[in-house]
Symmetry: C2
């Protein structure tokens, strides 16, 4: 057998086991799932030394990489404890499975129930942070889904050690140990093989940079739930409370610039631009943010660098903000439609009609009125955990928690009804 | 420009117009949408002669086709009236757009609303029945989605005449006339081009045979919501009320054998096989159903033809039923998991635990207890209309009505909140 065929055969075997496990796991009770997760948390803590030994091997192999890369890869005792606590937080969440989404009775007496069930088999493909292994596996387990994990090859030893904790925890109990499986291969052919298993894997949830996700989506035969990027906008309306606007702008840009829900573009209504821009640009500069502006912005605040057409469309994930003065709410809406990536946009205004128009017209996963786009997050939404954020239009949009890892079936109870 | 490039350019133009129309339509009020649909119903009635002239041209071109094909293609006054009434039924349905799916308040005072919105642009690809044109277009319009319709080439003139009624109705009012567009080409390159417009079309909903759908799914870069086939099972448990079981079996098989929610396999618990099988096989035969059976069935009912392995997996869409005697509920569940297509399955039983186990374990879109699988239908579920039935696991499963043509966004109202 060729090497590629061998990799494919192993991936198919693993996916087949996952499908079988998913059928069992779908019917598991909450107590059994939580019990397994408690063993995982305990296993992470008691196995901390083994985890660190595995991590040391990965770090040794990555000694040529950048300090930032090695930091992301590093698993120290604090991070292991954080992983264990993360699992405990998932234990504390309500089990979404079995929830009655809707139920009604038909005139012929049929009782129709729409019940929440797991999706089935979820493929998680991610880059080098090893905590994703524990986090994603625990979320899938709690929501009754079998997880197939494919992490970055640089973290293979660490991920394998974490996956071993899950396998041991599952093997001890009532749940199938194939419910959590790691693709233990650094071969890219393994990822390609996984993306072809349409009959065995129901959905791919990637975590990583834009390039990874674009490549996965290009290749996948399985639906990919993802966001590619976050070009988020803050629009400061003519009727904005400018104190609020400045506070929200600083928060949305500078509190954590490297995340998808930070803003990239600030739109300011011309009626408040003369008042608002000098002060917000100063505050942004104080926070280390480089401002690029349209010609009106440049006129109002001398020294601001010019913003080019490509600036409006770029997710910098950095302390850079592009600023544009607009003539109207309509111009702001048109800008968002053209340049935004549909993740999160915010308006600051005290004008009731403007707030309602913005909320209705902006077609993003999350639309904010008088609040920071940084709240676009599973924890901040109160989901208790987050598997990712979606800008897809189907199935799940915005922050994805346990519930977004579920689907539904109908159960119909009758008393002998037949169709006329 | 080559012919293929020309077709592609026209499809891109049409999809671009659809995307623009979708943005406007998403914000249209219920009254405007219903007003447009009333003009459609009136237009279908007043334009009946023009529709029949267009249909006559299609029928003339199809004179070499089978009688069944020509019947499906035919649009007479009764069918035009039925289309108009179908549109009126959609007018009467509640508008799903703007519904608050959930709303909650966070400890920091943020008010999060999950609001139902249209998906956007929906591509409907179908075969020769021209009534699908009116039906699908009206459902998309009511749910605020722009529709791109690609019907069978044999019905092109008829479909164009129906689409013209929509365009005229839209052009008269507040809604964008590109909200309903027909791909006016018999060229298969048009379908291929449509399936590539991932940035402009959000979902493809096919209507037609298995081969069409398989081909579309193979080619599409856009998510396809569909069911490929319906291999549905009825399981008669040891604790079944056998009167009910016989009535449900006859209904599920013979009331309309050519549809996806009719059963293909009957599973009978061995404890009741001796009593149940002779009578149900006789009743099935009286209804013109040819029975194929396992060896036990053949022993109990002499003269029954043998069922082969391939029979269990085949959707006949015909008066053919395969019968298997099983030793247990578990064997029935394993059969359904192996051969079923996940559309609809039913158990007949008076045993509480067996009913609950079946409902929990069977992973189909619709699971019935003591009722016919034939109820797997948007009208029978009370949705008032149906765009299709899905065996996908994501977004929509089972009968799809207006609500299944929607997605959601979050609107978050704050009072200046920023993230800590």
């Amino acid at each position: 057998m060729s090497a590629a065929a061998d990799v494919e055969a192993r991936v198919v075997e693993l996916c087949t086991a996952a499908r079988r496990a998913a059928r069992l796991l779908a019917q598991a009770g909450t107590a059994d799932k939580n019990q397994a997760l408690r063993r995982v948390a305990a296993g992470l803590r008691s196995g901390a030394e083994a985890l660190q030994r595995a991590n040391a091997r990965d770090l040794e192999a990555a000694r040529e990489q950048t300090a930032a890369f090695r930091d992301r890869l590093t698993l120290d005792t604090d991070r292991i404890e954080a992983m264990a606590r993360g699992v405990e937080e998932i234990i504390a969440l309500a089990d979404p499975i079995g929830e009655s989404i809707a139920a009604w009775r038909r005139p012929n007496g049929l009782e129709i129930q729409q019940l929440r069930i797991p999706i089935g088999v979820i493929g998680i493909i991610y880059e080098s942070r090893p905590n994703v292994t524990a986090d994603a596996a625990a979320l899938c387990l709690k929501s009754g889904n079998a997880a197939i994990l494919k992490g970055g090859s640089e973290a293979l030893q660490t991920n394998a050690a974490i996956a071993d904790v899950f396998v041991a925890a599952l093997g001890d109990g009532a749940l199938p140990s194939a419910a959590v499986q790691l693709v233990r291969s650094a071969d890219r052919a393994a990822t390609r093989a996984l993306l072809r298993q349409k009959a065995l894997v129901d959905v791919i949830v990637p975590r990583g940079g834009k390039e990874l996700i674009r490549a996965l989506e290009e290749e996948s035969r399985i639906p990919v739930i993802k966001h590619l990027e976050g070009v988020c906008q803050l629009y400061v309306d003519r009727a904005a409370d400018l104190e609020r606007a400045a506070r929200i702008c600083l928060n949305a840009k500078a509190q954590r610039p490297g995340v998808c829900n930070a803003i990239e573009n600030l739109l300011v209504h011309r009626d408040v631009a003369e008042t608002f821009l000098p002060r917000v640009v100063r505050e942004l500069s104080d926070a280390g943010v480089a401002v690029r502006g349209c010609t009106v912005t440049q006129r109002i605040v001398p020294g601001v660098a010019p913003a080019s057409e490509s600036d409006w469309a770029t997710e910098y994930l950095d302390r850079i903000l592009s600023v544009k003065v607009v003539d109207s709410l309509d111009e702001a809406l048109a800008f968002i439609e053209r340049y935004g990536s549909g993740l999160a946009d915010s308006i600051v205004t005290e004008d009731y009609t403007a707030a309602r128009r913005f909320a209705a017209a902006v077609d993003s996963a999350a639309v904010f009125v008088n609040a920071s786009t940084r709240f676009t997050d599973g924890f901040e939404f109160g989901f208790g955990a987050e598997i990712g954020i979606s800008t897809n239009r189907l199935h799940a949009r915005g922050p994805m928690g346990l519930r977004e890892l579920t689907t539904y079936k109908y159960v119909v109870h009758g008393s002998g009804q037949v169709r006329e």
